[in-house]
């Protein structure tokens, strides 16, 4: 396989975008066909490059000018995250009709996100990720400037922080290439910067942020693509963090803190979900919830936790496509989607969460308590899911962008994929662990049938296949029950949530008190600064002279 093949996954969407733009300017909208070619082309390119060799392929083309070489590679991590990004984007670009400029921007965003996970070094990842973020903001704002979108400053802050982390590694260790950074360079404070940027990039916070907010937009065309391309990138950084530290984070405190954060995020999402006034609001919390579970699993620092987290993220990425295509009216599609989202057995979400929670117990050192908290969170999700089935649908989306049958198929696929969890682990997640946790990845065994953990074995195929058949049979013979659609009260209110919201609102609307306004009179300051007052200039000069003599 020639090294240049690594460019395929990101170049194909770029070429498609260019062709669409040219035709678009000529007044011809190539539409969904071209978009599908670009999107699925990227997926195909990833498969073609990775599957035959299943080992790292790298292309280095010399320095770019900011201390980094043009170094792109496809390895297990790139493959896993690339599919996570490209598949939902491809589904949405194929099905949802868009104006050609929006398709072009979405294509460019996809290419940038893929470049971010293909980049061999941190600075290059920061530049590509920052590009993806910029394009996402452009895409969302042009679709509907009044609808909610991620804070551009927050996204930029995340990518800038990552760039700074990269240059710190370059200065300290001579390189910021993932697999070449000296382990000793990645100190605790430095890793805190990486973790902070990762959290900012994916906005993994306990409060309601863009991964949940975007689903309340009037149209979900831009929202789906944005969440699909941006949300996994923060987790990608945390996974690469293991590679930088030779299979572990610099201090176990990072594992505990990040796992704790993940659980808190998942619980906060669950708490909001069980109080959601509409089904759409509930579904909006699904991705942050799964992200929280995934973060908790990935941060454990064990190969088992890592693979569980990756499978959860992959499930979330499929759900993104599913949610963007799902209409808001009640029906079997909504029902099955909710069941798949909350992890009804024998779905893949169920199996992955079970493995993730088992991993917390086996990680030792009180991390089992995080597993207990994870179980409590999952229970809250179950409650929220059961409640959401009978909630009003919420604001409807244009029917032209919803595809109930496709979303139903995706949801059924997720429910039926549970028995394949071991196979998915072997083919999809294990290579990631082998890449970033080379020393301990050998503990992952079990083959295509079982997921073997230290203390037990999950008989994925042998237990879940009969369960799947039994489930299909029992639901097939069950009679119909009328689900009463009604506004349902929240089971509980998060203590302090209301006061926190009030505080946030107060901060937002904070103004300088009347009696102090004159001190902050911008016009007055502007006149003073731009007026060319001789005394001011002389004063500045004297002050500077005084300063340099200190």
């Amino acid at each position: 396989m020639p090294s240049a093949a690594v460019l395929g996954p990101m170049v194909l969407p770029l070429i498609t975008a260019a062709v669409m733009a040219i035709f678009g300017f000529a007044g011809v909208n190539l539409g969904r066909v071209a978009a599908a070619v670009g999107g699925w082309g990227a997926v195909l390119a990833l498969l073609v490059v990775w599957v035959p060799i299943r080992s790292s392929l790298e292309l280095t083309l010399g320095q770019l000018g900011f201390g980094s070489a043009f170094d792109m590679r496809i390895d297990g991590v790139t493959f896993a995250f690339g599919l996570m990004i490209a598949i939902p984007a491809a589904i949405l670009l194929t099905l949802q009709p868009r104006a050609w400029p929006q398709t072009v921007v979405a294509m460019l965003g996809l290419a940038a996100a893929l470049a971010a996970v293909e980049a061999g070094g941190i600075v290059l990842t920061a530049i590509a990720g920052g590009t993806a973020a910029t394009l996402a903001v452009v895409l969302l704002d042009t679709e509907d400037p009044r609808a909610s979108r991620p804070s551009w400053a927050m996204l930029l802050a995340g990518w800038l922080a990552l760039a700074w982390f990269g240059v710190m590694l370059q200065v300290g260790g001579g390189t910021a290439v993932y697999n070449a950074v000296p382990v000793a360079t990645v100190t605790g404070p430095l890793f805190a910067l990486l973790a902070g940027s990762a959290v900012l990039v994916s906005c993994v916070f306990p409060w309601r942020t863009w991964p949940a907010e975007l689903w309340s937009r009037p149209s979900l065309r831009a929202a789906g693509v944005t969440v699909a391309t941006l949300y996994p990138l923060g987790f990608y950084l945390l996974v690469r963090g293991y590679e930088l530290g030779d299979g572990r984070y610099p201090h176990q405190l990072f594992n505990v803190a990040l796992a704790g954060l993940g659980t808190i995020v998942a619980f906060a999402a669950a708490a909001r979900a069980q109080a959601a006034p509409t089904r759409r609001r509930f579904l909006g919390e699904v991705v942050p919830g799964l992200g929280g579970f995934a973060l908790a699993a990935i941060a454990l620092g064990t190969p088992l936790g890592l693979v569980a987290g990756l499978i959860l993220l992959a499930t979330a990425s499929l759900l993104i496509a599913c949610l963007a295509l799902l209409p808001d009216h009640a029906g079997i599609a909504s029902l099955v989607t909710i069941a798949a989202a909350v992890g009804l057995p024998p779905g893949i979400s169920f199996a992955a969460r079970v493995v993730g929670i088992e991993a917390t117990f086996e990680a030792g050192d009180f991390l089992g308590l995080i597993g207990v908290a994870g179980m409590a969170t999952w229970a809250t999700w179950m409650v929220g899911g059961a409640r959401a089935i009978g909630l009003p649908g919420g604001r409807g989306h244009p029917s032209v962008e919803t595809f109930p049958r496709i979303s139903l198929v995706i949801a059924l696929l997720m429910l039926a994929a549970g028995p394949a969890v071991a196979a998915i682990k072997v083919a999809y997640a294990d290579p990631v662990a082998a890449e970033v946790m080379q020393s301990s990845a050998g503990s992952l065994t079990g083959g295509l049938v079982n997921v073997v953990t230290v203390s037990s074995v999950l008989p994925a195929l042998t237990l879940l296949v009969p369960l799947l058949i039994f489930g299909a049979f029992v639901y097939a013979i069950s009679g119909a029950s009328t689900v009463r659609t009604q506004s349902r009260p929240a089971l509980f209110k998060v203590p302090g949530a209301a006061s926190a919201a009030r505080m946030r609102e107060a901060l937002r609307s904070a103004t300088v008190p009347e009696q102090y306004r004159s001190m902050f009179n911008l016009r007055g300051l502007e006149t003073a600064a731009a007026g060319g007052r001789p005394l001011l200039w002389l004063g500045m000069l004297i002050a500077l002279g005084f300063a340099v003599t200190r």
Binding site: G65, F66, G67, V138, W152, M540, V548
Partner: protein, 346 residues
């Protein structure tokens, strides 16, 4: 002549060509060509001057020539800041050359830094500004056309004039000016009432980055400064030229406006982001808390940039082509800045 100055002159020439080809004809193109050409020649003279005193004399001549161009401000008002700049630079040269205590060298460093700020028109020595003034006669010409070369020359000569200790003081003062201009410029671009003034402050904010780059006495700092000046001369200035800078153009929210905002804000993949990466790199090598302050300051660009990007309106025909060219050039320089840096010998 410094390779850096030659490159900056080439940027200025390119921006002049852009103005003639794509800018809306607010002034007769012939007059613009003559004035721009004269300015370019004068700037080239400053850059080519073999001695610091000759460069300062060239700067004075340039200032008088620009003041002679018809505009809204009085002749005396136009010469106020440049006159002070020339005086400060001359005094700094005197202090640097005289024998005596080390303190004299430090005063020389202050004079050079303050002279640079006054010549370009940065805080605390902002030139008086009238948004309605033609570009050739306005302070923007100093900020984005003449200023970059003048700054490169002054910084290069300063290192010849000053001792190592005073050179460090010079760098520190430049960084101080840089941080002040970053903060004031970006907040001003966001909150000031007049769109034209907002553009002027946004130039000052970019100059804040450039001064910080010059102040970081390392190769990465110089590289960052060069890239920032590229974004000023071949990014912000052309966009300013095609914008409704008086704020009369309707505010629009098209993709092009947001892309322009991203370019002005220094988001990836535009050249501003690469410049910021290099600046952080340099600051980290020098003193990492400075990098933290710079990184926080870099977040202030967004609100003002969104405002300016939206003030661009919807460019039509020639303007649209011009904007596309500027964005493409900035993306190219952002992704692959090496040729620019290599050409400048950095």
């Amino acid at each position: 002549m410094l390779p850096e100055s030659i490159e900056l002159l080439a940027f200025a020439a390119a921006s002049l060509v852009f103005a003639l080809a794509f800018a809306p004809a607010l002034a007769p193109r012939r007059a613009l060509a003559v004035q721009g050409g004269a300015g370019l020649a004068g700037t080239a003279a400053v850059a080519a001057a073999p001695a610091f005193d000759l460069a300062v004399l060239g700067l004075m001549l340039l200032a008088v020539l620009q003041a002679a161009v018809g505009g809204k401000r009085t002749f005396a008002a136009c010469l106020k800041a440049p006159g002070v700049a020339v005086a400060l630079l001359a005094l700094a040269a005197l202090f640097a050359r005289a024998e005596g205590p080390d303190l004299l060298q430090r005063f020389a460093a202050v004079g050079l830094a303050a002279g640079l700020a006054a010549a370009v028109g940065l805080l605390p020595y902002l030139h008086t500004f009238d948004p309605e003034e033609p570009i050739a006669a306005s302070p923007v010409a100093w900020l984005a056309y003449i200023g970059p070369v003048v700054a490169a020359v002054i910084v290069a000569d300063a290192h010849g004039l000053l001792t190592a200790d005073a050179g460090a003081a010079f760098g520190a003062v430049l960084i101080g000016f840089g941080l002040v201009n970053m903060a004031w410029g970006s907040v001003g671009a966001w909150l000031t009432e007049n769109t034209g003034a907002a553009w002027r402050y946004s130039f000052a904010a970019d100059w804040g980055l450039a001064l910080s780059g010059f102040g970081i006495t390392l190769a990465d700092g110089r590289r960052a400064a060069l890239l920032v000046l590229f974004t000023v001369v071949l990014g912000r200035l052309p966009l300013y030229l095609v914008s409704g800078r008086s704020g009369k153009a309707p505010v629009t929210d098209r993709p092009i406006n947001l892309l322009v905002a991203a370019a002005l804000a220094g988001s990836a993949p535009f050249a501003g982001f690469a410049a910021r990466v290099l600046l952080l790199r340099g600051a980290t090598q020098l003193f990492w808390p400075l990098a933290l302050v710079l990184a926080l300051g870099m977040l202030l660009w967004l609100p003002g940039s969104l405002r300016l990007g939206r003030s661009l309106g919807i460019p039509r025909r020639r303007q649209a082509v011009g904007v596309a060219l500027v964005l493409a050039a900035n993306v190219a320089a952002g992704l692959y800045p090496l040729p620019l840096l290599a050409a400048a010998g950095l």
